[in-house]
Symmetry: none
Subunit: 227 residues, 4 copies
DNA sequence: GATGAATGAGGGTTCATTCAT
DNA sequence: TATGAATGAACCCTCATTCAT
């Protein structure tokens, strides 16, 4: 935060997406180029923020990595904080729909989970989304609007969808307890922990993510009991 | 990080704890006062680091909060990074022994867990230790030696002790599967998630920590099955 | 010195002198402006260093005197020490060639000296070079590379050239003794002393530099004997 | 100078030399101890100032080297600048009388010089006095009162004595020219240069001080001519 | 007197942000 | 629109000086 204590809360409308009416062709080309630059900056910013944290990341490095001049960043984003917030937005918005849609399935849980693991490993863990999640969790407390947006638009809806999933599983007789309706966090916590384990302890004790999640879902939805 | 890239790794011997032989009374009083100051600075530092993160925390604020002048910090700690590292050390070292000792119990798991929950809620969640854990997880990737220390001296030994606990539970016939020996992370992940939930989403959806953990242990060690 | 103990020894390539290919006019204008700024900073730095000494000179004052912001200095020089070293380099490099070339003359010594006096008075004593020399001598012991550079690239070559001059004078029969070949320092020491006298005692007892040097060379090369 | 811009000009009366009337014996012991401490501090200060220059020298190091606490320095000297000024005083005052007395000799110059060389080498060059002279010359411009004291009480009288020496040599017929009466600086400049050469270039090209001075006096007072 | 912990002004350096080109 | 030089507010750290013990 340092000198950004004022917390500008409005998310600036993505400048590069507003197409000024120009000559048709050139306008299109410009808009395209602008969108590419925007994307390049966001991409670079994610890597820098993920590597150094929000406060220690330098816009100089973001610019360098994005292949633009430092000033150019300010053509697309009002300031460092806005860049950060838009970054989170951009990365998460498309995912939410998919997640919720996925949670509306009526497939038996045990068939569903193996697919879920695969999707998580491929679409989250192996991608920039893992960094986004880490950033939200680590920087969230200093960015109230991010936490709020994240809860309202992501965590809340997803948990609700998961609760629906659990409820339907109960109705189908697949689950006997409503504990996962009350604490859907229990379903995802190993995934969260795995995300952090990775950057901290993997070099000391690697974690087999797929096996971990499989074991976890076996415990939750498996037919054998632990005890 | 900024100018702290060089990573000075030695943990300075706690100045305030070394009592130079002086006149008995005065020497003791001085040493006591020094220890108090040291503690006040560490305390203040924890709060500032927890609130702002390492990079954004200002030693000026630490000093103000500790009720000392800025320069005084440097009488006790070589620099910002050393202050941070000693903070982590100091808070964790005494806990580890307790945890490992606790894990050597031979009490039935279900009797043990309720006690475990209580200890965690009171001795970790309700204390500065929660902030320390959060700091390690959020800043650890930028402080390799902290991550290393934390793994070698805390996480590793504790997980090992937990594995032992699980093995003995299996031998006693309390557990049928060795999955928790292979993935002891599964036992603690809800607690980790709860720590982060607290700072991020509690104002939107409060989490009943005790109930969450109880539900979690019920799933792991309870006699009823979820499915 | 304080925190500059590490002695970064590389002399950064003069930023303002590297012209990136740009549009011809603008590129030239930019480069010119940069070179001017660089020069202004070096100029201001020399005055501040000369007035206060390296350690006590404040970059704040250098910036103010140069008419730039404090941060601007760091666009042109890596740090205070580098600024200092480049200052020395810049001022001396062009002079050496001239000196050595001058020493290769075959003019009779007595005709040469009057010219030498004039050049020294005008080109050294009356200019910033006097301050540079003073700085090298006063700060040199704390900046080993400056002393080394100064010896290798300035003092050594110049003394060698002077020795050559003396040798040729001996061959021509102008000098009978080789004492000035063995101790060329004797030729320049009054000039050195005059440089320091100036800043210290001139207000109490002004020194007529020209007359001093003339008297000195009369003693060395004159046909009358003192005793 | 840094924060010592105010230039306190009064030389504090040496505190340790003022004997407070106490019990006779103890008072004497105390006074002696005090004088020793004062001397130790001055000694240490000279070494630190000589090594780092006035501005960069740290009183902490002076105290450490003197074997006293930092605060103790302030019992004997008002502040850093006073310490520095008293240092210069103390070292020079005793020398001046000797020099002037020596210059009142009526011995033939050539017999005198060999003795002079010996004294300079032993009593100045090989001692802390060399550092004092270097300090005066390098720091003098920033300490007007030091330069003034040095001129009034040392340089001026000594030069005057030297002039007298030269005049008498002329009267005795040993010297034909009055050039050394007009420019007595010419007599000492090689010694000054040798002092600086030592710290700067000795590792590249050692200078045989005795031989240098002998050659110098041979030129000035020898019976052979250079040309 | 002597100590050395404590102070806090100040300096070097960084970096988000601006603006002339 | 894009650039990157320039700005200057902060921040970490140092060190002369003070003061309670």
């Amino acid at each position: 935060m340092a000198r950004n204590t004022k917390t500008k809360e409005t998310v600036s409308t993505a400048k590069g997406q507003v197409e000024k009416a120009g000559s048709l062709n050139e306008g299109g080309a410009r808009a395209k180029r602008a969108a590419e630059r925007r994307a390049a900056i966001l991409h670079a910013a994610l890597e820098e923020f993920a590597a150094s944290g929000y406060a220690a990341a330098r816009l100089d490095d973001v610019a360098k990595r994005a292949g633009v001049a430092k000033g150019t960043i300010y053509l697309y984003f009002a300031d460092k904080e806005t860049l950060f917030r838009e970054l989170i937005h951009m990365e998460l918005t498309p995912v939410v729909g998919v997640l919720i849609h996925a949670a509306q399935t009526d497939v038996p849980l045990r068939a569903f989970t193996s697919q879920l693991i695969e999707v998580f490993v491929r679409e989250v863990f192996g991608t920039r989304r893992r960094d986004v999640i880490r950033l939200i969790i680590t920087e969230g407390p200093r960015f109230p609007t991010i936490a709020e947006f994240y809860y309202r638009d992501v965590v809340g809806p997803v948990l609700e969808a998961v609760r629906g999933l659990m409820r339907r599983a109960i109705e189908r007789g697949e689950l006997k307890s409503d504990v996962l309706v009350r604490f859907p966090q229990l379903i995802v916590s190993p995934a969260i922990v795995a995300i952090f384990w990775n950057g901290l302890f993997d070099r000391f004790e690697p974690l087999d993510l797929r096996a971990l999640l499989q074991a976890h879902f076996d415990i939750l939805f498996g037919d054998g009991r632990l005890s």
